[in-house]
């Protein structure tokens, strides 16, 4: 660059080199950091407390496998896209997710349950609501097109309220918006998953509404771990290892409360005092209640979330094989119910 006649040429080139170096570092470094031994299982981050057994996976995962968490945001669409584009191996999500995926022609498979409960309807004292029946005619906030919405609709119907005519549904946008809308009086009540339900209920004037009854009239298991069907076909050992590790992880957070607390506090950033309530409202368990899947599919169809009732197609799509191997229980014990039996009114065996 000497013919430039400007010494500046040198500093420009250095600047460019610095930038190129920074970029190269940025692209290469994660690969270096990630170079652990064994098969890598990439799991999407979650914001739902009852799904947070996944954060115990690094400890319970067998030798020869490692876990990496990915930030895919909170949108189900981006998670599905990541799953189908092989950017992600597994996600944790509500049982409604199987239906959503099917309606988009995607083939994903629930392989292990995560937890029950983990949701709540939160109401404001100012609205005068005291029972589920009092929700009639009120302004309710939730995230439309999610399982929270579906579950709330089921609860409303169970107490004789028409979810399409007797209430007004408002979208809370970001989970932070849930608390803000209730505090600000823009909604009288709403449904959201933990820990946001507890964060909201910790504010003065807000409380959780008839929690036990709420689960009685809706359902008791809620979320599952999903993998692409392709992964089941091509790498069953990996899937088995994931299921085994997850069952162990569920045990950990179920039995070791301080461990669950540490995980939750770290992920959520809220202190254990606030998360205590949230953790009490979670029921970590590996069962997958097939009837919940069927019911979700029917509700989603009636809500117009999907183009048709996918319930009849779900029976073979829930994979109990690995779970059964790992736990030594039969699929029926783990929640399998055929579609025909479901229509006859049969419920999962552990529901009693």
């Amino acid at each position: 660059m000497k013919d430039f006649g400007i010494h500046a040429g040198l500093s420009r080139r250095r600047f460019l080199q610095a930038g190129a170096g920074a970029m190269a570092l940025g692209f290469v470094a994660p690969g270096i950091v990630r170079a652990q031994d064994g098969t890598l299982i990439r799991i999407s981050d979650t914001t739902a407390l009852h799904e947070m057994s996944i954060y115990a996976l690094p400890e319970t995962m067998a030798q020869g496998y490692s876990v990496e968490f990915l930030n895919l945001g909170a949108s189900g669409t981006s998670m599905l896209a990541a799953l189908l584009n092989s950017m992600c191996d597994s996600i944790s999500s509500a049982n409604s997710y199987l239906v959503t995926a099917l309606s988009q022609g995607a083939s994903i498979t629930p392989i292990c349950g995560l937890a029950g409960r983990g949701q709540a309807i939160v109401a404001t004292e100012a609205s005068g609501i005291k029972t589920l029946e009092d929700l009639r005619g009120k302004k309710l906030t939730t995230k439309p097109m999610t399982s929270a919405h579906v579950m709330m609709q089921v609860a409303l119907k169970a107490v004789g309220i028409d979810p399409l005519k007797d209430v007004e549904i408002i979208d809370f946008g970001q989970p932070a918006g849930f608390t803000l809308m209730l505090e600000g009086g823009q909604a009288d009540a709403g449904q959201v998953w933990e820990p946001f339900a507890s964060i909201a209920a910790s504010k003065p004037g807000l409380f959780k509404l008839e929690l036990d009854r709420f689960f009685d009239v809706t359902w008791k298991t809620h979320s599952s771990l999903y993998v692409p069907q392709a992964l089941v076909d091509e790498k069953p050992d990996t899937v088995r290892a994931l299921v085994a590790a997850n069952v162990a992880a569920i045990d950990v957070i179920k039995n070791d409360r301080s461990k669950f607390s540490a995980i939750a506090t770290n992920r959520v950033g809220q202190p254990p005092e606030i998360l205590d309530d949230a953790m009490n409202n979670c029921d970590p368990r590996p069962e997958m209640d097939a009837t919940v899947f069927y019911k979700m599919a029917e509700e989603m169809a009636s809500l117009g979330m999907v183009d048709k009732d996918y319930a009849p197609e779900l029976e073979g799509k829930i994979n109990y094989t690995f779970l059964s191997e790992v736990t030594g229980r039969t699929p029926e014990q783990l929640g399998f119910v055929s579609y025909a039996d479901y229509k006859d009114g049969k419920r999962a065996s552990f529901e009693g």
Binding site: K2, D3, G5, A8
Partner: protein, 255 residues
């Protein structure tokens, strides 16, 4: 190096207005090797246009500009140009400005640095090599401009009213300097000015041009030897002769 303007016409067509300016119409002129020719005339007579055509900054609408029988290519160091504004590169020191030409032509600093210092010395700027242009006076900047052109040893040197923006005293000093350093055996010089005194002081031949359309009105030989006394009889007579020629242009057209 012979220079020939062969029946040059230059017409500017303004895209916005319908205005059509005939800057030069059928101008022919030969420059002999080694002579200092001054183009003299009021604004709009085409003198600067003629210079730009030789420099390669513009192209003739019709006719040809020939150097040694070949049409003039794009601008280059063989036709060094000194502009009315010094146009030095403001981020470069005087020395770097002078070294710009050699560097850009691939010559090494080791070879050329001493030569650059010498050229700057010849224009009287020793000690100012590391100055940035804006820390030099107008006259000094023009001296750097002369130096940076001279270091390339052009066969043709063009000057477009280079001293017009300077004060009287500086201008006279610069004219002397110009004669001292710019003239060289074999180098043809084309100097544009509107100052009759400057023309008479410098020129071997004065080409008097007139405007609308731009053309050559008269060519006057100035056989006086250098250095020329500005107050001498011969000098003043010559000025008178030139003045007679341009006289009727002096009154402004206030039509």
């Amino acid at each position: 190096m012979s220079v020939t303007f062969d029946n040059i016409s230059k017409i500017y067509q303004s895209p916005r207005a319908a205005a059509r300016t005939v800057a030069l119409e059928n101008v022919s002129l030969d420059l002999a090797e080694g002579e200092l020719v001054v183009l003299l005339g009021p604004s709009g007579c085409g003198k600067t246009t003629l210079l730009k055509l030789l420099a390669g900054f513009e192209f003739p609408t019709s006719g040809r500009v020939l150097v040694d029988g070949k049409p003039v290519p794009k601008p280059g160091p063989d036709r060094g140009t000194i502009f009315q504004a010094p146009t030095l590169f403001p981020w470069l020191t005087a020395l770097d400005n002078v070294l710009y030409g050699p560097r850009v032509n691939g010559l090494s600093d080791k070879q050329m640095r001493q030569k650059a210092l010498d050229v700057l010395a010849s224009v009287g700027l020793t000690g100012f090599e590391e100055h940035l242009p804006h820390n030099l006076s107008g006259g000094m900047q023009q001296r750097v401009a002369i130096a940076r052109v001279l270091i390339n040893e052009p066969r043709i040197l063009l000057a477009d009213e280079p001293f017009a923006a300077l004060d009287e005293y500086t201008r006279r000093a610069m004219q002397q300097l110009f004669l001292k350093v710019a003239r060289k055996p074999g180098r043809t010089l084309l100097f544009v000015t509107h100052s009759i005194e400057e023309a008479v002081y410098l020129a071997d031949r004065i080409v008097i041009m007139s405007p609308r359309p731009g053309r050559i009105q008269e060519i006057i030989d100035v056989p006086m030897p250098h250095p020329r006394e500005r107050s001498s009889r011969d000098f003043l007579d010559m000025m008178g002769r030139v003045y007679d020629q341009v006289g009727h242009h002096v009154e402004l057209d206030v039509a």
